[in-house]
């Protein structure tokens, strides 16, 4: 038992390198997902029917089929068409496009949440369309997107575990290798689960900071720091629980 923990300890740097890979993929895929989401949202709101249909098709394609299938498709089928991506690139591409398709709905809803009066004021003031979008509409829509962005970021972190299935050496892949190398059973996954959870807490905390900054900037009430603590109050009054 003690020998086992010693060797687990020896493998720790190897596992930590995996954390680094996992974070790299998370941020790279997210950096792809956000512009994709804006593009798809713009496509869905386009005045050209063809563009609307094309954007809708891409969104349906990525939302309706399983991410695992998409990943295997990028890994096994794309090379047949002469497109050979490294496992890491394939993973980032699929995760980014998949999450971007989901997040495009958030972007669209946020842009639409800007009250009609703001748009009408822009028209009444004869502001150029581009100016109105970049200086009036978008600055108001961005803060609305921040909380769902936080959710999407944590989702992406969990999502990256799938790239281990196409041999990317992330945290999950390395855990599997350690299990095989040491011949130990699944305890290593307990450790890895805790690492993922800690990372998720850190990312969510960082986004909460961003949210507070945005609220301050927009002159709105500043929300509490940790969303986990915020959510802890019970929605049911005590008497209704029979006490």
């Amino acid at each position: 038992m003690s020998g086992q923990s010693v060797s687990l300890h020896a493998y720790l740097p190897f596992l930590i390198d995996g954390v680094w890979v996992t974070l790299q993929i998370t941020f790279a895929a997210m950096a792809l997902a956000v512009p994709v989401a804006f593009l798809l949202a713009a496509g869905r709101m386009s005045s050209w029917r063809v563009v609307r249909l094309a954007a809708g098709f891409v969104i349906e394609l990525f939302r309706g089929t399983s991410a695992v299938v998409q990943l295997f498709w990028a890994f096994y089928v794309l090379p047949l068409f002469g497109i050979t991506l490294s496992p890491m690139a394939a993973g980032i591409l699929v995760l980014g496009l998949n999450e971007g398709s989901f997040f495009s709905e958030v972007v669209r809803a946020s842009l639409k949440s800007i009250v009609v009066g703001q748009r009408e004021a822009c028209v009444a003031l004869h502001l150029p369309r581009r100016y109105a979008f970049w200086r009036i509409i978008l600055p108001q829509a961005l803060p609305v997107m921040i909380p769902p962005f936080g959710n999407a970021l944590v989702l992406m972190l969990k999502f990256t575990a799938l790239v281990s299935l196409v041999t990317v050496q992330d945290l999950s892949f390395r855990a599997d290798q350690i299990r095989t190398a040491l011949g130990v059973s699944g305890e290593i996954y307990g450790v890895v689960l805790m690492i993922y959870f800690a990372l998720a807490l850190v990312l969510a905390g960082a986004v909460a900071l961003l949210e507070r900054q945005a609220a301050r900037w927009a002159g709105r009430p500043v929300p509490a720091l940790l969303p986990w603590l915020r959510a802890h109050a019970s929605p049911v009054p005590r008497w209704a629980l029979g006490r």
Binding site: L80, S172, L193, P235
Partner: protein
């Protein structure tokens, strides 16, 4: 270049096998749903009940399950359970893992449903001195269920797509079947594309059903 061009005859020949895989995927999803929806309700009821240590523990469990990848949860259960003398088939293990993961997500949806209830509803019940069982069965549930039903429907669709992860513990569901066919015949284009298509058809039809459900509840 064998996989470059789509071969219809080949695609048709592997379709029955893929449909068998799809059946396993659907079975796993439905069985996991049968665990997730009631277990999620139990979890959230314990969580809001305000029992000193237990409620906090359940709250942490829900957050932990929601904050970690399903793939690793599955591996954990799959490789750790035998240590404690529990040996189940990969399929059963997969269903249990997916059910537990789904329960944590369902619990969050139930909570959102309860939170959506206007505070005035609770206050009115208290002022009228309604008996507690009636408050839950006659006032709370009839308002929470229509809000939560479409969300739970969407959750089932998400679980359907997540069930593809079960392929990693040798459950021969749709994705594993498609991959096996690819390995054996060196043709990946048809099996993987068809697998994606089958996923899309089922989830599209299911999403349509959920929208129908939503419209029916909204119409009332």
């Amino acid at each position: 270049m064998s996989g470059f061009s789509w071969d219809w005859a080949y695609a048709l020949s592997i379709l029955p096998e893929l449909l068998r895989g799809l059946m396993i995927t659907v079975q796993a999803t439905l069985l996991a749903t049968a665990i997730a929806l009631p277990l999620g309700l139990v979890l959230i009821l314990i969580r809001v009940a305000g029992i000193p240590v237990v409620s906090r523990a359940v709250w942490f469990l829900i957050e932990f399950l929601r904050g970690t990848p399903f793939l690793i949860q599955l591996y954990f259960i799959f490789y750790v359970m035998p240590n404690y003398g529990v040996t189940l088939s990969p399929f059963t293990t997969g269903v249990i893992a997916l059910g537990i993961y789904g329960a944590a997500r369902a619990a969050e949806l139930y909570r959102a449903g309860i939170e959506a209830l206007p505070p005035g509803q609770w206050e009115a019940c208290m002022v009228l001195g309604l008996p507690l069982p009636f408050v839950w069965r006659g006032v709370v549930m009839p308002q929470v269920v229509p809000v939560v039903t479409p969300m739970l429907g969407n959750l089932v669709i998400v679980m359907f797509k997540d069930s593809a992860v079960l392929s990693t513990i040798t459950v021969l569901e749709l994705v594993a079947t498609a991959k096996d066919i690819g390995v054996m015949t060196f043709r990946y284009l048809e099996p993987l594309t068809l697998a994606g298509l089958l996923f899309w058809i089922v989830s599209y039809a299911a999403a349509h059903g959920v929208r129908h459900l939503e419209a029916r509840h909204a119409g009332r």
